[in-house]
């Protein structure tokens, strides 16, 4: 008989994947060794690091085991003859830590990526150059002249030229990219300023001139690279966090061969027509139809329907839906390009184009700033020329204008605030994917929510008080401990919350599609379907939320069965969170794929006036486009696969950590807590950050109002330029640090 793999991760707390799926995560390391990266979220102290590393290193054949505390990851390498991947997971789990594997490519993406490292190195080179040249410049400013000054300028040039060539590349590349497409951004004036200042300083050096701006050029690059590095670091951290959430589910399917044997295959190797086994509690890996078995399917993460749907042979299955009751065999029908997922991804790609057109604040400022600065420099040169100052002096003054107005403070003004805002939000469990997300979020005036999994928790919890005494609850939870059914897990969690430890029961029989059964102290215990446990399915159905009729029944011996109703409740503070959004001036709407009654009930208890139910992904996208066409800026909050296109289409989007992979990819911000308060917190922080960015830009403009006349008048020496640039940068960074955490 074919054995079924243990269940794949459920939406909220993933179970460890099967041995077969684990092999998909193992990669080749040097000298024939194997490598596996595990996410171990439970690591939180020095003792944990030692315990985990110790347990793994104690295994035979392990050549390397090291915990990265920042990303909560363990990477292990071993010799394949002596050990296999499940042993390592086992070793970590034996000492009480949860361990989930990572796909190799994601593990690589989680490490600081080459772009960040490159920026860090550029920053170090620019810092070294700036400090050493400044040392020489101080001597020049304090009176070195003649041969000494020329020598110092020459040495400065020797340090500055390679530095500009190396550390200036990120700016030159970005500026060139913008110019090639006929646009301009902040990097255009930066690049022009840096290149002209370097050229002029070289000319001065070789003509024994008094002023060289090498110190200004390198200091400018150093400050700007700090801003760039911070920006990149923020994106890396968020990406590592997202990668940790994604890919926890194994991308594989248990395929049954015609001879009856089974094999665990990656999704890419599944062809239409293959027979796939799906255990109870596992997610359906590909689209298809049921061949054998009957079960109930939870489609909430895919279509937003909160009610499980019964399926029988011939019934349709969508990839990503959760098989609840019994193991089934299915025939893969649509894979790859034809699947429902691929269709959603296509919709997402079209929807994303709107967001790609968004221009960031700094670049919008540059659109006015760059022409103004270049015009001023030109006017200064022409003016001095007409006044009879001669070519040399006129050009020097024009370049001095460019240097003094070079947007050093502007380059820092935006990233400094956004990095501060993102780290403040990260402490509250919100991952911000990039800085532009905060800018877009601050501009939103309408919030569109999905219902299932977003306004609600997306997982069942007992409705009301548990109708069981402590003794019975311990027994029921003891039975439930053997099952991966979402209701069983919910029951155990509820028991634990009441301080009840599940009784250890030796022999529990799992009857597919019916429930769990055991003999305990002479009595027969049953936990499962209502009719099977002896309860009448019809009675009192109207009493408890008939709309969300998820129920279990528990029976002990001959005592009458007890019905335990479950419901997918609204998040604990959904109402308060929506009220706070409304207080912030947003109009709140609901777009859901669920039934009319369920959506109407949720809308009523949340005080939402505009809602619409039974929406397909296409319908949601159309509704979003219609609202956007009215000129609204939409904040979209959703989780399901069906929400992914609308998340991508929204002006800004937020998703809970329990969202589908596609939803997490499409969203700008993810929140890890159960509380919906994360949404108003993100909004308020984004608005505060927006205000400070504007303050910083205003500071930069005020600085220019004072600095430009001095430069035009021809009074700017390298000393004044150095002081002015540093001062404005310090003011801007200091202002960014004022940003406080949301309440």
């Amino acid at each position: 008989m074919a054995t079924l793999a243990p269940p794949a991760p459920a939406a909220h707390s993933p179970a460890p994947p099967s041995a077969g799926s684990l092999d998909l995560f193992v990669t080749e390391a040097q000298a024939g060794r194997r490598r596996l990266d595990l996410h171990v979220p439970g690591i939180h102290c020095a003792g944990c690091i030692r315990k985990v590393e110790g347990a793994v290193r104690a295994l035979p054949g392990i050549t390397h085991a090291r915990v990265n505390f920042t990303t909560r990851r363990l990477s292990a390498e071993w010799e394949p003859e002596k050990l296999s991947a499940p042993d390592i997971v086992q070793a970590v789990e034996t000492i009480g830590f949860e361990a989930r594997p990572f796909a190799a490519s994601d593990a690589a993406a989680g490490a600081p990526d080459p772009a960040s490292r490159r920026l860090l190195k550029s920053m170090a080179v620019a810092g070294f150059a700036a400090m050493n040249i400044m040392l020489l410049s101080v001597s020049v400013w304090s009176g070195a002249d003649g041969a000494t000054r020329d020598l110092f300028h020459l040495i400065s040039a020797g340090i500055a030229l390679p530095t500009v060539a190396y550390a200036g590349q990120p700016f030159f590349a970005s500026a060139w990219g913008a110019l090639k497409h006929g646009r301009t951004n902040m990097d255009v004036p930066i690049s022009i300023g840096v290149l002209l200042a370097t050229a002029m300083s070289l000319y001065e050096t070789f003509n024994s001139g008094p002023h060289a701006y090498f110190d200004g050029v390198t200091t400018l690059l150093f400050f700007l690279l700090i801003g760039r590095y911070l920006d990149s670091l923020m994106r890396d951290r968020a990406r590592a966090g997202v990668a940790t959430l994604l890919k926890q589910s194994a991308r594989g399917a248990l395929v049954r061969a015609p001879d009856g044997g089974t094999e665990y295959r990656p999704i890419e190797a599944v062809a239409p027509g293959m027979t796939i086994l799906v255990a109870a509690g596992e997610r359906v890996p590909v689209d298809g139809t049921v061949l054998e078995g009957a079960s109930a399917i939870d489609r909430s993460l895919v279509t937003g329907e909160s009610l499980p749907e019964p399926v029988a042979p011939g019934g349709e299955l969508l990839a990503g839906t959760l098989n609840l009751d019994a193991p089934i065999a299915m025939k893969a029908s649509r894979v790859g390009e034809q699947s429902f997922l691929a269709e959603v991804v296509r919709l997402m790609e079209t929807a994303e184009q709107g967001r790609a057109r968004y221009t960031r604040i700094a670049d919008r400022a540059a659109r006015f700033y760059a022409p103004a600065v270049h015009l001023t420099a030109l006017v200064a040169a022409i003016g001095w020329l007409l006044a009879g100052a001669g070519w040399h002096q006129s050009i020097i003054i024009a370049i001095a204008v460019l240097i003094i107005t070079c947007p050093c403070a502007l380059g820092l003004a935006v990233p400094a605030v956004q990095v501060r805002a993102a780290s403040v939000l990260m402490k509250r469990g919100l991952l911000v994917k990039d800085g532009s997300a905060l800018e877009r979020l601050a501009a939103c005036d309408t919030a569109v929510f999905d219902k299932t999994g977003t306004l609600t928790l997306g997982r069942p919890v007992p409705a009301g008080q548990l109708p069981l005494g402590r003794g019975d609850l311990a027994l029921a939870a003891g039975l439930a401990a053997r099952s991966h059914h979402p209701l069983s897990r919910a029951l155990i969690a509820a028991a634990r919350a009441e301080g009840v430890t599940p009784t250890a029961i030796a022999e529990v029989r799992e009857l597919p599609g019916l429930g769990l059964e055991a003999d305990w102290a002479g009595e027969r215990l049953r936990l499962g379907r209502l009719d099977w446990a002896g309860a009448e399915a019809g009675e009192g159905a109207e009493s408890l939320a008939a709309a969300d009729q998820l129920e279990l029944a528990f029976r002990r011996g001959d005592a009458p069965p007890v019905r335990i109703p479950f419901t997918d409740p609204l998040r604990p503070d959904a109402r308060a969170a929506l009220d706070r959004l409304r207080a912030a001036g947003l109009e709140v709407r609901i777009l859901s794929g669920d039934r009319e009654e369920a959506v109407a009930a949720a809308a009523r208890s949340l005080g939402v006036e505009h809602y619409s139910a039974r929406q397909t992904p296409q319908g949601k996208l159309a509704a979003i486009d219609a609202l956007a066409a009215e000129g609204r800026k939409l904040l979209v909050v959703g989780d399901g696969l069906n929400d992914a296109p609308m998340l991508a289409a929204g002006h800004a989007s937020i998703a809970p950590a329990s969202a589908s992979d596609a939803g997490q990819t499409a969203a700008d911000i993810l929140f890890l807590s159960d509380s919906l308060m994360a949404v108003p917190q993100a909004l308020e922080t984004a608005r505060r950050a927006d205000r400070q960015i504007r303050q910083n830009l205003a500071t930069a403009i005020v600085y220019n109002v004072f600095a430009v006349p001095i430069a035009v008048a021809g009074f700017v020496t390298p000393l004044i330029a150095a002081i002015a640039m540093s001062l404005s940068s310090i003011i801007v960074v200091g202002n960014a640090l004022r940003l406080k955490a949301p309440e």
């Binding site: 102290c45 020095a46 003792g47 505390f69 920042t70 170090a124 070294f128 050493n132």
Partner: protein, 50 residues
């Protein structure tokens, strides 16, 4: 003036040495796990980077 010809190269060499050390530390992954390093000093066992 003459002592400058000794002092300047010395100063530059020292600076370059610092830069090289920093670049090496970035490349050898010492900035990959800053929080972990803070915790590792609390454990007694021998624990050199591998």
């Amino acid at each position: 003036m003459n002592n400058l010809f000794i002092l300047l190269p010395v100063a530059l060499m020292l600076g370059l040495g610092g830069l090289a050390a920093f670049l090496w530390s970035v490349r050898s992954g010492q900035y990959d796990d800053l929080d972990g390093a803070a915790h590792r000093i609390l454990t007694d066992e021998e624990d050199g980077p591998e």
